[in-house]
């Protein structure tokens, strides 16, 4: 069970329409180019229209439009900080603030007093990290089997895995809740962690990657030399899986950090994740928007910091997943 808003990464299924472009280039770009799109060689770029001379860049209009788009995507976050740094009367004044006020820390303190903020942060870190590590491990294991080992039923089983990505399993919440109640896990973190320990998307993603990342001869050589299967996996597949595993880790982490529907249902107010704590904050202080938006800002900052360091990987992960058959 994962986020309601979960969108699988853009992998066009094999059963895609007939007009699909046949792209023989492997889905992850060149092997070993860890940051794919970012490090695409310059000569590879297609020049639009073919009319511009070499080295001629786009005009200022293009930069201007893009800057507007990015300002649009930043503005709500800026607004959140802006309002969150004033006091509660700010919105009822005649004009809106243009600069941050000095009240953010006071608001943050109230947020921490109102909801179990630190606990929620810890919970979010635990849930996101544990699921991301687990998804990476089990998906690599299964992806390795599908990509490189021959066994009866491999092809139909892989088709089954892919098909499950299109099934809205979130609609099974009622029985899943009953399962958790039976296990006594209502209000416990494992109720959120366990359903996300391995995902169909992860298995498919690693299968696609490992198919081209490990030469078959390498595995044959290891087998001939008497390596057990798990040892071959450990010493050959796992090191080769690193670039794709890093991206899968990030996507799973973000997915679980932003997830709300299931944690909201199954976790109580005593033991929330950050999005659930934000909901509590809203319920307690709806009229005090500066407090609510200070909380929204605080819940967003950790992932923004993560994004500064790993955004490049996220970008190339999305783009590498997009063009393939």
């Amino acid at each position: 069970m994962s986020a309601l808003e979960e969108r699988p990464l853009p992998i066009i299924p094999r059963t895609g329409p007939a007009t699909a472009p046949k792209n023989d280039e492997d889905p992850f770009g060149r092997r070993g180019s860890g940051s794919g799109a970012g490090s695409r060689p310059e000569g590879h770029r297609r020049r639009r229209g073919g009319s511009g001379g070499p080295g001629r860049g786009p005009g200022w209009i293009v930069y201007g439009c893009l800057a507007a788009v990015i300002l649009g995507s930043m503005f709500p976050l800026w607004w959140s900080y802006l309002i969150g740094s004033h006091d509660s009367t700010i919105l009822s004044r005649d004009s809106f603030p243009l600069l941050p006020g000095g009240n953010f820390l006071d608001n943050a303190a109230s947020v921490i007093n109102t909801v179990p903020f630190w606990r929620a942060t810890m919970n979010s870190i635990i849930v996101s990290t544990v699921t991301a590590v687990s998804v990476v491990f089990f998906s690599t294991l299964a992806g390795y089997a599908f990509a490189k080992l021959r066994f009866r039923g491999a092809a139909p089983l892989l088709v089954f895995v892919i098909a499950t990505m299109a099934i809205p399993t979130q609609l099974g919440v009622v029985p899943l809740y009953q399962v958790m109640a039976r296990l006594g896990w209502i209000g416990e973190l494992q109720a959120v962690i366990v359903p996300g320990l391995v995902t169909a998307f992860g298995v498919f993603w690693m299968t696609q990657y490992l198919r081209q990342a490990i030469p078959d001869e390498l595995i044959e050589a290891a087998t001939v030399d008497g390596c057990s299967m798990i040892r071959t996996f450990w010493h050959v597949a796992l090191p080769a899986a690193k670039p794709a595993a890093a991206m899968l880790f990030l996507f799973t982490f973000v997915l679980n950090w932003t997830n709300f529907f299931w944690p909201f249902i199954v976790l109580g107010p005593q033991n929330p994740t950050l999005p659930v704590a934000l909901q509590q904050l809203q319920a307690a202080h709806f009229v005090d928007y500066s407090l609510v938006l200070a909380g929204a800002t605080m819940a967003t900052i950790p992932l923004l910091i993560l994004f500064i360091f790993t955004g490049r990987q996220l970008v190339s992960g999305i783009m590498q997943g997009a063009v393939k058959q």
């Binding site: 709500p76 399993t169 050959v236 709300f260 934000l278």
Partner: protein, 334 residues
């Protein structure tokens, strides 16, 4: 078993140093055969072992709950009291007789359309801009992806403030240009627009990157041929770029259908009560499901809604599929 260095030897392709046991003498035969058998088992069953975690977990938290939902929907079933009498299709009949159900269906479809269509158009346009030979390419690409890491709950809180009925920024900007304030939290269409804006905010940049990747895969001789034929940039975009993006467009629409029809976070957080508005103006089907199950403690009715929503998703998926087939076959005919 062999030492780790064995694997490294294997990795460098050295096959000369096979295990001694393999060519051993007769004296060591029993041990060899055990090792052989163990290794054969290893080779035969390990793949199943490796893929089993996914299948086990999917069976327990995915497939079983989904199927059991039908069973729950056919019973009186209380959140606390548990299973009651078998009632057949009564829960479905009851739900289908509720005005709230049809309103939630309308809201779900309306929000879905308002959030998917503009999003695809905007994402393609942004991708087109990103496809230029830009300086600091990674910066621009990362910039459009920022909203993706913001949790929908925070997005909803921020936009619900921006779209505030009395003190919202959007309304005061409308008033400065002489347009009357809009009741974003009271009207039907306005609330759908506000919620769709949240969804678009979070996903447009993400989808733009998907389209960007697809655009870069378009063979450049197509553009050159079009340019030789005298096509300008706009014409090239319409006649070359868009047709080549079609499979990606379909992919994006299908994935956003599955997620979009189950939308919960944004409408839940649009006001503090979380019931989809005083008159259910923006109560979506998942919100309705939650209300039936966890506010009114009626798991039977909630499961009936889950089944109906499932059928709706399947139906829309089939419609997508048929349209796709038709488009692609008419492509071939041309």
């Amino acid at each position: 078993m062999t030492a780790p260095s064995r694997a490294e030897a294997a990795a460098t392709g050295s096959r000369s140093g096979g295990p001694a046991g393999r060519t051993g003498t007769g004296r060591r035969k029993p041990r060899i055969s055990f090792r052989h058998r163990a290794s054969a088992w290893d080779r035969r069953y390990s793949p199943y072992l490796y893929i089993s975690p996914f299948f086990l977990l999917f069976a327990v938290v995915g497939l079983f709950p989904l199927i059991y939902t039908i069973w729950v929907a056919a019973h009186d079933w209380d959140l606390i009291m548990g299973q009651g009498e078998f009632v057949g299709t009564d829960n479905f009949a009851h739900v289908l007789g509720q005005r709230a159900f049809w309103i939630s269906l309308r809201n779900t479809l309306s929000i879905f359309i308002l959030s998917s269509a503009p999003q695809v158009v905007a994402a393609i346009l942004i991708a087109y801009l990103l496809d230029y030979n830009l300086r600091a390419r990674t910066f621009w690409r990362m910039g459009v992806l920022v909203p993706y890491v913001v949790t929908p709950v925070a997005v909803a809180l921020i936009f619900s403030n921006l779209f505030g009925d009395r003190f919202g920024l959007v309304n005061s900007m409308l008033e400065t240009v002489g347009i009357d304030a809009v009741g974003w939290h009271s009207g039907v269409l306005p609330s759908h627009l506000a919620i769709a804006t949240m969804v678009n905010f979070r996903w447009t940049g993400y989808n733009a990157l998907i389209f960007l990747a697809a655009m870069q895969a378009v063979p450049r001789d197509l553009y050159e041929a079009a340019a030789i034929d005298g096509a300008g940039k706009v014409r090239q975009f319409i006649s070359v770029t868009i047709p080549n993006l079609r499979p990606t467009i379909i992919f994006v629409i299908i994935t956003s259908t599955i997620g979009g029809l189950q939308i919960f976070d944004e409408p839940r957080m649009f006001d503090q009560y979380g019931r989809g508005g005083a008159d259910g103006q923006w109560q979506t089907m998942t919100l309705y499901l939650y209300e039936l199950g966890w506010t009114r403690s009626d798991f039977g009715l909630a499961s009936a809604v889950a089944v109906l929503l499932f059928l709706l998703i399947v139906a829309i998926g089939l419609v997508n599929f048929v349209i796709t087939r038709r488009i692609s076959s008419s492509e071939v005919k041309r």
